[in-house]
Amino acid sequence: MTVCHTLAVARGTTAGVESALSVWRASENQAIWWADGTGEAEMSVRSNRIRRVLTRCLCAMLLVVFGGGMAPAAFAQSGADPSEVPDLVGVWDGGGRVRPVNGPNMPWVPGENFPVLNERGSAHQAVFDEAIASKYDCVPSASPALQYDPYMMDVTQWPDRVLFRYEKDDQIRTVWLDGREPPLNEFTVQGFSVGRYEDGALLVETVQFVFDITGFDDYNGIPSSQQKRVTERYWRDGEELRMTLTVEDPMFLREPVSYTTRWLPGPEGYKLQLYACSAEEAGHPRKFLIPKYH
């Protein structure tokens, strides 16, 4: 393994670093096994070790200079053209000064992009009772609602992943850029996200969501299923961060639906606050509504 090869792998992913080191360890063990007790072999092993030690030192220095200096700067997935990687790093404001606040008609606007439900979706919506929405028990908001909640969002780009941290509900989404596949039987509130850079944008695909009785939005009693697939495209437009989001869920929707929105840079030096949803306060308003079934 050459220095350059090692560095390239290490720059690509964290897993790449581990992989490179494991190959290194394997070759080292092999050299010791070859020694077999003869003086000539021992000499060869010793000189090999010295060469490896020097190589490691050089690699370490290069990693510190190039690798360490880059992280967590945007470098992109392995093999991505750096010129195609948009700079998404920072705290982004998705509040009321930037875009209309979410509600029953926002961002899903009747007559424009409001979803057409199939029979199953319509039946679920018809029996839905606001009193049982899981947000009143601090279950966090999920895609596609989370992205439109009027809070701050912090984005960090690493070589092998992009982290989206949401002030709303203290949520973190990891978008893997290293080509890994979703685990077969793992379903979560935020799903499993993979991404890639393309044409100056970050493309994210998320699947493996749990069934969520209000998983489509926070306001209209529309559920989402484990067949939900959310696609996001993020790009920069001047100082703005823009995104187009598309939801597919054949369990409940007749066809995919999309919205486009934007964020502006958050206040200088702003750090996300702890949301720490209070279960007591989350459920407090329930006492003020008249349940559908009583």
Binding site: G95, G96, V101, N102, G103, P104, E130, A133, K135, Y136, C138, D149, P150, Y151, E167, K168, D218, Y219, Q273, Y275, A276, C277, S278, E281, A282, H284, P285, K287, F288, L289, I290
Partner: protein, 127 residues
């Protein structure tokens, strides 16, 4: 004269913005509160709970018959309010306050939302 009118309008607009409780972004208000009605309470703050996803203000205020009512006024998330300068100490127990907002729907409850908060004499409560 026109300049004076514009100045008055600007002052009123700022006052409304400053004293209005931040909008509820966690859930729709419609199922919980009647947006076609307005109620008013003038009384004493007993507690201010500054939390997420909603803050709540508790006010004891007499109704028209003189019976003391314990109002629970739903406010915005602490995270959003703090960006506008609010803290857990902006309103304290014992403060005199006037609250005007939408009443809760469930019979026998005294919730309120989307309220405007001022001191009883109408001066704004500033964060």
């Amino acid at each position: 004269m026109k300049v004076l009118l514009w100045m008055v309008a600007a002052v009123v607009a700022v006052a409304v913005l400053v004293t209005s409780v931040p909008a509820i972004a966690h859930h729709a208000s419609g199922p919980f509160y009647d947006n076609e009605k307005r109620v008013e309470a003038i009384g004493t703050v007993t507690k201010f709970v500054f939390r997420n996803p909603h803050s709540f203000l508790y006010v004891d205020a007499p109704n028209a018959e003189g019976t003391m009512i314990a109002w629970e006024i739903e406010m915005g998330t602490a995270v959003s309010m703090s960006r506008r300068g609010w803290t857990a100490e902006t309103i304290e127990a014992g403060d005199q306050i006037k609250v005007v907002g939408q009443p809760s729907r469930a019979p026998g409850t005294f919730g309120m939302c989307c309220a405007e908060l001022t001191k009883p004499d109408g001066t704004p409560i500033r964060p």
